[in-house]
């Protein structure tokens, strides 16, 4: 579908307008939404599966699902929550299929060479990969996305007690592993 706005105008346009245009089937607007949200979705998926290629593949699935269901979105303001639900559903489906990767594609030799922000990030990714998938999801939603416990319950359909326990035990385990690495945030 031909875009109603030029690409330069789309880049300047506010989020609700771009999302509303994407909902009408405007491919250029959808590409702009994709450009604005891709970093967040890919980072989320990368934290969960610890593999850039698989994380990107899952992020692509998220955006394809979003594109296929865009007409069901009632309000442009609700887009981020709606997208977050697709992200969580995509990850949980991947876990159910038993396919989540725990193998990093980063070079572990980097850690030995220097202990800067990159290696600290790898420490965190390595520590996250030791958590069970459900616990990892709760910890990432709480600490990376800053969601509250009720918001996590609403997204994951897990009981509140389970979510609290996952976050508490997951955070304790991460703290312990990161302390073992001798890493200070």
């Amino acid at each position: 579908m031909q875009s109603r706005l030029a690409v330069a105008e789309l880049k300047q346009a506010p989020d609700p307008l771009v999302i509303a245009l994407a909902c009408t089937g405007d491919d250029s607007a959808f590409a702009e939404v994709l450009r604005r949200r891709q970093g967040r979705v890919r980072k989320f998926m990368y934290h969960l599966c610890r593999n850039t290629a698989q994380g990107d593949d899952l992020a692509q699935q998220v955006f394809l699902t979003a594109w296929q269901s865009l007409r069901q979105l009632r309000s442009a303001v609700a887009f981020d929550g709606w997208l977050k639900r697709i992200m969580v559903t995509t990850w949980l489906a991947e876990v159910r299929r038993g396919k989540p990767s725990t193998t990093s594609d980063l070079d572990p030799a980097d850690i030995a060479v220097h202990h800067d922000a990159t290696s600290a990030r790898m420490d965190l990714d390595a520590a996250l990969s030791t958590l069970p998938p459900d616990m990892r999801l709760c910890v990432v939603l709480a600490y990376s996305d800053g969601l509250s416990h009720p918001e996590i319950v609403a997204l994951t359909d897990m009981p509140l007690g389970t979510v609290k326990s996952h976050i508490s035990r997951g955070a304790a385990r991460l703290r312990q592993i990161l302390a073992d690495y001798g890493d200070k945030p």
Binding site: Q38, H47, L64, A117, A142, Y143, S168, A171
Partner: protein, 107 residues
């Protein structure tokens, strides 16, 4: 976080660190390529289904015409019967039963 007592700001600082740079253009191009592929596929499936429906209608047309002729004859016979005395009596009885049933339900 809704529970500040459980929240660990030092751990949050780990998550807030700069993540590796993720090049946007290649990713956006790749997703849009898949979107266009999905759209082409959906269009082709839609066209194929329309052609299949048209072919089915053409192939089944002799039976459809015969069926329509039979239906027409059956309807003509039933209207003739209703227009006669037995049909009128039957309609009257049916209407009375319906009125009584509606009254019984409203009571």
């Amino acid at each position: 976080m809704s529970d500040p007592e459980q929240f660990d700001p030092l751990l949050a600082a780990h998550f807030n660190r700069e993540h590796q740079h993720l090049a946007a253009d290649a990713f956006v191009a790749s997703v849009m390529h898949r979107v266009r592929f999905q759209r082409r596929l959906a269009t082709r499936i839609h066209t194929a289904l329309r052609i299949a429906a048209l072919l089915a209608a053409v192939i089944a047309s002799p039976w459809l015409i015969a069926g329509a002729t039979r239906l027409n004859a059956a309807l003509a016979a039933s209207f003739t019967w209703i227009a006669g005395l037995p049909g009128a009596w039957m309609l009257g009885v049916l209407a009375a039963v319906l009125v009584l049933a509606a009254r019984a339900r409203s009571d």
